[in-house]
Subunit: 119 residues, 4 copies
Amino acid sequence: MSDLDALARRLEQFADARDLAQFHNPKNLALALAGEVGELLAEFQWLTPDQAASVMTEDVEAAARIWAELGDVTNYLVRLADVLGVDLIQAANAKIDANDKRYPADRYRGSARKAPGDH
Amino acid sequence: MSDLDALARRLEQFADARDLAQFHNPKNLALALAGEVGELLAEFQWLTPDQAASVMTEDVEAAARIWAELGDVTNYLVRLADVLGVDLIQAANAKIDANDKRYPADRYRGSARKAPGDH
Amino acid sequence: MSDLDALARRLEQFADARDLAQFHNPKNLALALAGEVGELLAEFQWLTPDQAASVMTEDVEAAARIWAELGDVTNYLVRLADVLGVDLIQAANAKIDANDKRYPADRYRGSARKAPGDH
Amino acid sequence: MSDLDALARRLEQFADARDLAQFHNPKNLALALAGEVGELLAEFQWLTPDQAASVMTEDVEAAARIWAELGDVTNYLVRLADVLGVDLIQAANAKIDANDKRYPADRYRGSARKAPGDH
């Protein structure tokens, strides 16, 4: 079993043991995911790019909070995907395949601009 | 190598081939993650809980968009964690361990309320 | 002076008195806005539609938190718009004008679906 | 009638003319607000702080998109507050009053750090 599958099973057991299936509708889980991402954002909001790049080694308290927020985000994402029946690794690789074609390396070197018509 | 590690390496190669390291600051990646989660939310905003629960089988176009958005969210989350040096599986499991203690199954059965003092 | 202009001036004075202009870059303010919206979302994540509709009268503690989060969201939105030089009332009305044409009342009655080509 | 009240009435008429009240539950509107904020974030994700600060004058296409996104965000925020019965100006001013006491100007000069115990 992959790491993500093992995590999905653990999250399912956590929910089942507390009878939370009634709350774990995909809409609610997407909301919960967004709420956790909001908390993650709050850790970066006043940092300069340089401060952000070194936060994990330079600010031990912020690092611990970011680590915990990433755990929360991962858990809600994995739980949401499990409830929807989506394989995150497949979906992620399919998106890279598509972006590889959409943004050829030789034409988008050093550019973060979107492909034409994309917004 | 785990699935997530393989994905992180593929995302790094994608970024390196396009010289995107300059953009892939953790702050920017957290913003990009939040933007993709916003697009995911938009798929659920007008659905009833029942419609949300059956969207992957009942609405093939929405299902394809949700699948693609979950791929985007996964990619930015994995890339962000890689740039920060965070192991998402470890962080996620540590959070479940903490929640197991904070929300004992026998006291929080059928309840989505927060532990005292938590908001 | 309109209510929003008065609020924008008060927020500017708050920032100036604390020498926060260095932090109030539009990018940082957009991040802070998103973080506050994340906290607002968290208030609704486990509620049924009916519970959400009556939360302000049925749950006095949640109502106080929602009220405060709406205050935070408004402040960051007004501050962001002020820093960018955008008149929110103009921008909002222009968007309603556009949506009035895009979604004619007689064709979109009882439908929350998007106009063709819109996603 | 204030500008915001006039906007709230216009949004109500828009919704009534299309029979959208069934969709305009506070939970759905909070989700829609978050989705629009996600689109706003996407405009800033790859910009440096300097680029973000000058985007409204230096990039006319991005400026038009940001202006439109701010209109969308304002509309969903005003509609959400109207459905909840919250006066945004009151809520915003109450929050500034509270922050004035929590972050005294003489102690928080040039600092974006949080008050003790606040996260």
